[in-house]
Point group: C2
Chain length 330, copies 2
Amino acid sequence: MKTRSAKLALVLALLLGVICSVHADDPLPSWNDTASKKAIVDFVGRVTKAGSPDFVKPEERVATFDNDGTLWAEQPIYFQFQFAIDRVKALAPQHPEWKEQPPFKFVIAGDMKALLADGKSMMALMAVSHAGMTTDEFTKIVKDWLRDAKHPKTGRLYTQMVYQPMIELLAYLRANGFKTFIVSGGGVEFMRCFAEQTYGIPPEQIVGSSSKMKYEIHGGKPELLRLPEVQFVDDKQGKPIGIEIFIGRHPIAAFGNSDGDQQMLEWTTAGSGARFGLIVHHDDAEREWAYDRKSEIGRLDKAWDEATAKGWIVVSMKNDWKTIFPPTKE
Amino acid sequence: MKTRSAKLALVLALLLGVICSVHADDPLPSWNDTASKKAIVDFVGRVTKAGSPDFVKPEERVATFDNDGTLWAEQPIYFQFQFAIDRVKALAPQHPEWKEQPPFKFVIAGDMKALLADGKSMMALMAVSHAGMTTDEFTKIVKDWLRDAKHPKTGRLYTQMVYQPMIELLAYLRANGFKTFIVSGGGVEFMRCFAEQTYGIPPEQIVGSSSKMKYEIHGGKPELLRLPEVQFVDDKQGKPIGIEIFIGRHPIAAFGNSDGDQQMLEWTTAGSGARFGLIVHHDDAEREWAYDRKSEIGRLDKAWDEATAKGWIVVSMKNDWKTIFPPTKE
């Protein structure tokens, strides 16, 4: 018996050793062995190694991630805008007056050019699709949409339009004691409908834009009614403010892709001690989309210049990523 | 050698057993063995026992706590108001014009009655003491105050005016897999100056009222400037809204002491599954203060009626608590 247990223990130890060493060899298998990956691994090593001059206590290992264009795609339009458009289409039969009324008539006619010509149009669609219902009703509508809607170009579910290398990066940071947060201009309640399952990020670690709400009691049951008014915009200057109000800690690493993330990266990397800033550059027209300084969606211009000036890592999706999207289940 | 290690292991095991059994016997030593304590222990047992029909997964064990009057005292005035008054006194030498100017002249003259006669007066003091500086500067001012200022009645530091039974309750819930949050009308950045050390609640688990802020770069260094405008009021109806925006989960247990907590307890206890609502009733004039339906600070009136109607636990500080405040270091 004793010899048998000893053998078993040895086998188990070897197996564990193999598993651990595979993991240690390549925690980021979808990343090519380029400077970007080396910079990530180097930073994580420096802040986690006991005795390192850059060591950071686990509770202070806060990493913040933008969502649109950083964790999932954002072309041809932000997915939350597509949700609003689809929702207006679904509601149109109950609103015959919309046939004559801009911007709703653009949606019904499928005239995207007219719809996107005026920034106010999308806001009107957002108000109709995101307000006037309880928080529970909204969550159900979004989850139903995420279950069924397909991306117009790839035919994938939107939750399969996430970046596999970033999913690995999130897991790698968490395995190294980091607490990962989303800090996005997207709606906080919209993101919570998929972020836990898709990214492993729980609801209480998501910072986003929010609507005003009204607390009401209907038939003895309390409800939160979503109002068509903005409570907080978590974009540009709003990102460091959102970090301060919601998280209350200074991140040590921040990840973005556009000028909307510039202030978050400035705020994060300005702190004392080891800091890390990373920008995902969309330069892969073949496997994804190529856009930067002149794009209406996800413009990367000033933040790119600042990245160069300050030594933030600029990831080339084309050169640094082995794969873009996760494998789909057939 | 072998026998010695075995003996050592046995001693260690026994010691651990003793420690654990003391803990298991009485996780709440400052609570008397009354119905309130039994209800708490019963609820925790039901939601944590595998196989129980009321079992709740650890990630959904969210418990929210009011701060003023629930975790620390709030008499004779909210401690954050006392901070504002002390701050105005400290700034007065730089503002000779305040001698003639209400409400500042009331502070300088020590006329509390005149000061508290008009609700707008405190708001003016809050603006002067809480805005016009960076977030880092504000944190330093609050921490200095907490280090030095003493409560006018007890002579204790304000961080020693916390309720020992509630400190034990927080630890007991966390030991049972709960995530504990503060959801308070107090300023979120004010509370973060002491909550981690005092309550073991980290910054990212504190929901509170907040000011608007401005992001600025001074000498290449990004800063957040606090503005004298309100961003969000986390009180009454604002508490379920704050829970929804900041936490994004439905709490299964909520703890408060006043009408400001009524909606949080309604929202928490209305959900499906096992739920727990608890109100701390300040009925101990000898060891603390006795106040409820008619108090200006921490009024407990409508929430008390609802507690009775809905079976929320009403804790008598006089009868249910063995001790009120923690022992002080002499």
